[in-house]
């Protein structure tokens, strides 16, 4: 069957794409998506590790489930904040949001 490392590589790749997205997206929503990618990379890792190392304990699965749940909550809050910004500034382009600096 497929070796563990393939999954890990997939996870790593996904993680990097997520990070890149986070860094490169101008749109706050886009960044949020990048974050989601990162979390999914994590999930892949967790599941893979669970399956290959401790299939008899559910730790990995449970962890993954929690991550998804939290991801959802996080996204909700994030979107709320983005909307608030949009209300006051009419933009979701993060680099325009720079009132606060030294």
């Amino acid at each position: 069957m497929v070796p563990l490392s393939w999954f890990l590589i997939l996870g790593a790749a996904l993680f990097c794409i997520g990070v890149y997205g986070v860094l490169s997206r101008r749109n706050a929503i886009g960044i949020l998506m990048g974050v989601e990618l990162i979390l999914n990379a994590v999930n892949i890792n967790l599941i893979a590790f669970w399956r290959y190392r401790t299939p008899d304990q559910l730790t990995g699965l449970v962890f993954a489930v929690f991550v998804m749940a939290i991801a959802a909550a996080e996204a909700a809050v994030g979107l709320a904040l983005i909307i608030a910004i949009y209300r006051t500034r009419n933009t979701v382009i993060v680099e325009d949001v720079d009132l606060l600096k030294m």
């Binding site: 890990l8 996870g11 993680f15 997520g18 990070v19 986070v22 706050a28 960044i31 949020l32 990048g34 974050v35 990162i38 979390l39 990379a41 994590v42 890792n45 967790l46 893979a48 590790f49 190392r53 401790t54 304990q57 730790t59 990995g60 449970v62 962890f63 929690f66 991550v67 939290i70 909550a73 996080e74 809050v77 994030g78 709320a80 904040l81 983005i82 608030a84 910004i85 209300r87 006051t88 500034r89 993060v94 949001v97 720079d98 009132l99 606060l100 600096k101 030294m102």
Partner: protein, 488 residues
């Protein structure tokens, strides 16, 4: 003690938080402010503290080793309770006319406190993650609480984005840890390493894992270079929230940092201690020197709190739990946090009082404060002295212990950088004092302090001096709390 008993503090907080939210909702749209809402929250917090005090001395774990009930957790329960209490007092009439949703604020604050207590108690990576996210999400909302205020929003969004990514990275690290050890329970992780049956390539994975964890914790504590969200968030957030952020999440971050690293990764102490020492030097230096130039007191305090994170980290970087001396590092961190809690929140309370009266956060506007309100100036000065680390104040005790810890493990350089920073810090704290006392102001109008603020200020100042002058009980408390479950 049964499960309910052991969990009672958390449950009480949960109940209080929900109760406040519900009450707020129930009475929504009614005329006038609901001044009594904070009372509910305060009452709840007091009950919480009392309940917590019953757990003194109990050392056990529950929820299948997800959570610990130990002195360490207890200590942070107290920290969380006290800081939240003070912040609620501070925000009493801050929101007047600023937002219609005042009630929720208190609810959220209480729940954030709950998050802190959970974070400090969690002994499993999953639990760590959950509690941290709980705290983070709460914090995001609090920072962005003034929806109409663009600055508030901006602070929130930056905080959020940074936090989301940071937790993502941390999480990736956790997944690796899990992968290597096959467990998420801190104690078991430690056992795995102790057993030493791991292959090298497995161990190799631990390094990125640890670093990623560090990134996550560093974000919470606002360690350089994971600090950059904090000035913006601090400045943007409503001042009471800033006060809370500068203490609560920091404390939680340290709690988790210490518990995870001490409980799960003692095997790697040499590695992470070195990294933490380096980070702590950078952190305090950068925080202090950047603070020098700030003219907005909130921003100045933001950087000063970064610097303080650096000092605190000295203690943990030079942790030596098995050393015969009293200065094992951890108790230094705890004492520092305790003193810092009162001093820093106190300073913020004073800032809020000033802001309420003048609407300004600019340091030059503090000119002639001694004339306008001697007590405000006096107490603020004492608190600033404490932050500077002058003896007879709480701040000195903390510095004393962390420096002692550094010397104890012969981290002389670390201690040296520490004291140099302490001297630099005096510049900007004294600068505020200079305006308050030396510079005459054209504005002579008296500044009235609302009773709630007065109480908060009084408590903070008193506690600062008490800890400074009679530290014995607090030291014992800290020494007790050093006992983490699973660690000796």
């Amino acid at each position: 003690m049964n499960l309910i008993g052991l969990l009672s503090p958390e449950l009480i907080l949960l109940a209080t938080g929900l109760l406040v939210l519900i009450l707020d909702m129930a009475f929504h749209g009614k005329e006038g402010r609901r001044e009594w809402l904070p009372f509910v929250a305060i009452a709840g917090l007091i009950v919480f503290l009392i309940a917590a005090s019953f757990l003194w001395g109990t050392h056990t774990s529950l929820l299948s080793d997800m959570m610990a009930v130990d002195s360490f957790a207890l200590f942070f329960k107290v920290v969380a309770g006290l800081s939240t209490l003070l912040v609620i007092l501070a925000s009493w009439d801050y929101f007047q006319g600023k937002t219609p949703y005042e009630g929720e604020f208190y609810g959220l604050l209480v729940l954030a406190a709950l998050a802190i207590t959970l974070a400090a108690a969690s002994t499993d990576l999953i639990m760590v993650y959950l509690s941290m996210e709980f705290l983070s999400i709460g914090s995001y909302i609090l920072v962005g609480y003034l929806r109409e205020d663009p600055k508030s929003n901006e602070g929130a969004i930056k905080y959020f984005l940074y936090g989301a990514v940071a937790s993502g990275i941390m999480l990736y690290g956790m997944s690796l840890v899990y992968g290597v050890t096959g467990t998420t329970n801190l104690a078991q992780i430690a056992q795995v390493f102790a057993a030493g049956k791991l292959t090298d390539d497995m161990l190799w994975l631990m390094l990125p894992a640890l670093i990623m964890l560090l990134a996550g914790f560093g974000f919470k504590i606002a360690l350089v270079p994971f600090h950059q969200w904090s000035p913006d968030a601090y400045e943007g957030a409503p001042t009471p929230v800033t006060a809370f952020l500068s203490v609560g999440p920091k404390a939680a971050g340290f709690a988790i940092l210490m518990r995870v690293f001490l409980a799960a990764f003692p095997a790697f102490q040499l590695d992470w201690a070195a990294v933490l020492a380096a980070i702590s030097m950078i952190t305090m230096t950068l925080g202090n020197v950047v603070a020098l130039k700030q003219t907005n007191i909130k921003r100045m305090l933001a950087y000063s709190s970064i610097a303080h994170a650096g000092y605190i980290l000295i203690g943990f970087a030079s942790v030596a739990l098995d050393s015969p001396s009293l200065f094992n590092g951890v108790n230094g961190v705890l004492l520092y946090l305790l003193g810092y809690l009162f001093s820093n929140v106190g300073v913020f309370v004073a800032v809020i009082a000033f802001e309420n009266a003048t609407g300004s956060n600019q340091i030059p506007d503090y000119a002639g404060l001694i004339k306008r309100s001697p007590w405000l100036a006096g107490t603020l000065f004492v608190l600033l002295l404490s932050l500077t680390g002058i003896p007879a104040t709480a701040g000195f005790l903390g510095k004393f212990f962390v420096f002692a810890a550094a010397i104890n493990v012969q981290f002389y350089v670390l201690a040296l950088v520490g004291i140099v920073n302490a001297a630099i810090a005096a510049f900007y704290y004294l600068n505020v004092a200079r305006y308050m006392f030396f510079v005459p102001s054209q504005e002579e109008s008296h500044i009235a302090i609302a009773p709630a603020l007065a109480v908060a200020l009084g408590v903070a100042t008193f506690a600062t001096l008490l800890i400074g002058l009679y530290p014995q009980p607090f030291i014992e408390f800290a020494n007790q709390s050093v006992r983490l479950l699973g660690v000796f």
